[in-house]
Amino acid sequence: MERFRRTIEVVSALFFGLVAVITLAAATSRVTFSLGLPDAYEFACLAQGIAILWGISIATYDGKHVTVDLLYEKLSRRGRAWMDIVAALVTAIFLGLLAWMTMLRGIESLSSGLTTNELRIPIGPFWILGGAGLVAASLLGAVRVFNLVAEARK
């Protein structure tokens, strides 16, 4: 599991870095040579989307999302464990729904023939790759629930 998580982390981080590199390349080429890189803007957007949707899976697994801890801090250790489980379960279910609908939209865009503006590269596969990040998020969310239940039973 840790290896799977690490692979997701590295790939999504590389896509994240790609956003910065594409932005730099596009800005430099425009400022220096008055040349626009074809579809740079769209590729930066797609790389950002893929990075963030996969990044959400890591943040979910690691429990790094922003939460309100007012009530949580007042609870006993057992109470906290149960609250963690409930929150993780609801999160995993919501992410599952989100993943399902996002994948459907990605598949729809394949058949609709949506492409980038200049190079006419199909966008659908990129969206599906992003949607797969949410599928991973819901699966990792479910793994987190099992881990938390196992921990609570100890």
Partner: protein, 432 residues
């Protein structure tokens, strides 16, 4: 069920879900989609889930937030914050409260190449706290200074919070950045005064260091070239018309990485660590944005925005009375919630009221961020305080809150000044 009842039920459900520690973004998303479904139907509600995530994460305008976060992480890991602190220490360390002032000035310097309050506080805790503790500083006051100084990260440009405000309210982000300069410097001045007063009344809590010869002081300045170059490159690039704000964020991130690599402070392994760290923060922020967008559809369909707007405007307390109420609401929310969630949840409701009352939208951006900065350090949920406590667990939360209390008072005073004198915020943007 009427739209009104669904809206009230939605807000109650949102609070309950957040209280049971469901991540804020997902809580907003769940309530948004269920509430929207109750009014419009299941199929359109499910369509929101299909459309919103992809639209949000591929929005190029929003890339300004992750790129400035990445720039801050690279700057932090490259040791730029340490150099700022060393330079400030050489110049002011010898006066009572000098190390606290050095921490404050380096927070301000670091804020100029980093758009995040939390990143500034986290970085300076690692750099400045051990030095202040070594010099026998009161640990509560030392952490208090860092927590307060960290808030300069979201006022002094570049600022992720001002950028987000600009995106939500469709205001010029470059003007907003300039509007934050004088309020940020005012913060440095007032925090500095507070430190000097505390040092005067409680000298044992902030002892002075031996003075540093002028030659060493001057030598310390040569190490901060990287920060100056980055600031001029990014901010100068925006105002010189070379880059858009979004481009500047990406260029700044790569520029910071490049400087780190050239100076051998970063390698490929550390680069990957930085990318992962920035991505995790970004993913958590975008989860909130996705949820808030879905919740926004729910607010629109229930006409909550218009209803609250109409109710507020009709209150017989005048424009400043309403402004006072709004600021009070933000102070309470800021002490309970993350500033990004607050911005996304409330600005679509509050902003039209503010504009309708005749207040300047750029000025209100500064006021909004100012109130958020207070929320970052005020109990019970001061994010900067939590971050410092997670890095320095030997200083209890209570002690940090005690140490930050004088600076909360200073911030309330600064807020009053900024409300009373909008020119402080508007002078630079209006002269552009």
């Amino acid at each position: 069920m009427t739209s009104y009842a669904v809206a009230v039920g939605g807000f109650v459900a949102l609070i309950l879900l957040m209280l049971v520690r469901i991540p804020i973004g997902f809580a907003m998303g769940i309530v948004g989609v269920v509430g929207f479904g109750m009014i419009v139907g299941l199929a359109p509600a499910m369509q929101l889930l299909a459309q919103v995530p992809l639209t949000v994460v591929t929005d190029y305008t929003l890339s300004i937030i992750p790129m400035f976060i990445l720039m801050g992480v690279f700057a932090s890991r490259s040791g730029l914050s340490g150099e700022l602190f060393a330079a400030a220490r050489a110049w002011v360390g010898h006066i009572p409260g000098g190390l606290a002032l050095a921490s404050l000035f380096s927070c301000a310097g670091f804020a100029a190449i980093n758009g995040s309050s939390i990143a500034t506080a986290a970085t300076m805790t690692r750099v400045a706290l051990p030095e202040m503790e070594k010099a026998n500083y009161n640990s509560g006051l030392a952490t208090g200074v860092i927590a307060a100084g960290g808030t300069l990260g979201i006022m002094i440009p570049p600022s992720a919070a001002l950028a987000l405000y600009g995106i939500i309210t469709e205001q010029d982000i470059s003007k907003l950045f300039m509007a934050g300069v004088l309020p940020g410097l005012l913060g440095v001045l007032l925090y500095g005064l507070a430190i000097r007063i505390i040092a005067a009344y409680r000298p044992e809590s902030m002892p002075a260091e031996p003075p540093v010869p002028l030659r060493e002081r001057l030598a310390s300045l040569k190490d901060i070239w990287a920060v100056l170059i980055l600031f001029v490159f990014v901010i100068g690039g925006i105002y010189g018309g070379f880059f858009t704000v979004t481009e500047a964020s990406g260029v700044g991130a790569v520029g910071t990485w490049f400087i780190g690599m050239v100076r051998r402070r970063l390698d490929l392994r550390k680069t990957m660590t930085c990318l992962v760290e920035a991505l995790q923060t970004t993913a958590a922020i975008f989860a909130i944005i996705i949820g808030a967008m879905i919740f926004g559809y729910f607010l629109t369909i229930t006409q909550t925005t218009q209803n609250i707007n109409a109710w507020l405007v009709a209150l017989p307390i005048g424009a400043y009375g309403i402004l006072f109420l709004i600021i009070l609401m933000y102070l309470i929310l800021g002490a309970l919630m993350d500033e990004i969630a607050i911005a996304l949840l409330t600005l679509p409701i509050v902003f039209p009221v503010i504009v309708g009352l005749g207040f300047d939208p750029i000025w209100f951006g500064v006021i909004f961020v100012m109130v958020c900065t207070i929320g970052m350090i005020a109990p019970p949920v001061g994010m900067n305080v939590f971050v410092i406590n997670s890095i320095a667990p030997h200083v209890s939360l209570g002690r940090i809150y005690k140490g930050v209390a004088p600076f909360i008072a200073v911030d309330l005073f600064r807020l009053a000044i900024l409300v009373a004198f909008p020119i402080i915020s508007l002078l630079i943007p209006n002269s552009m």
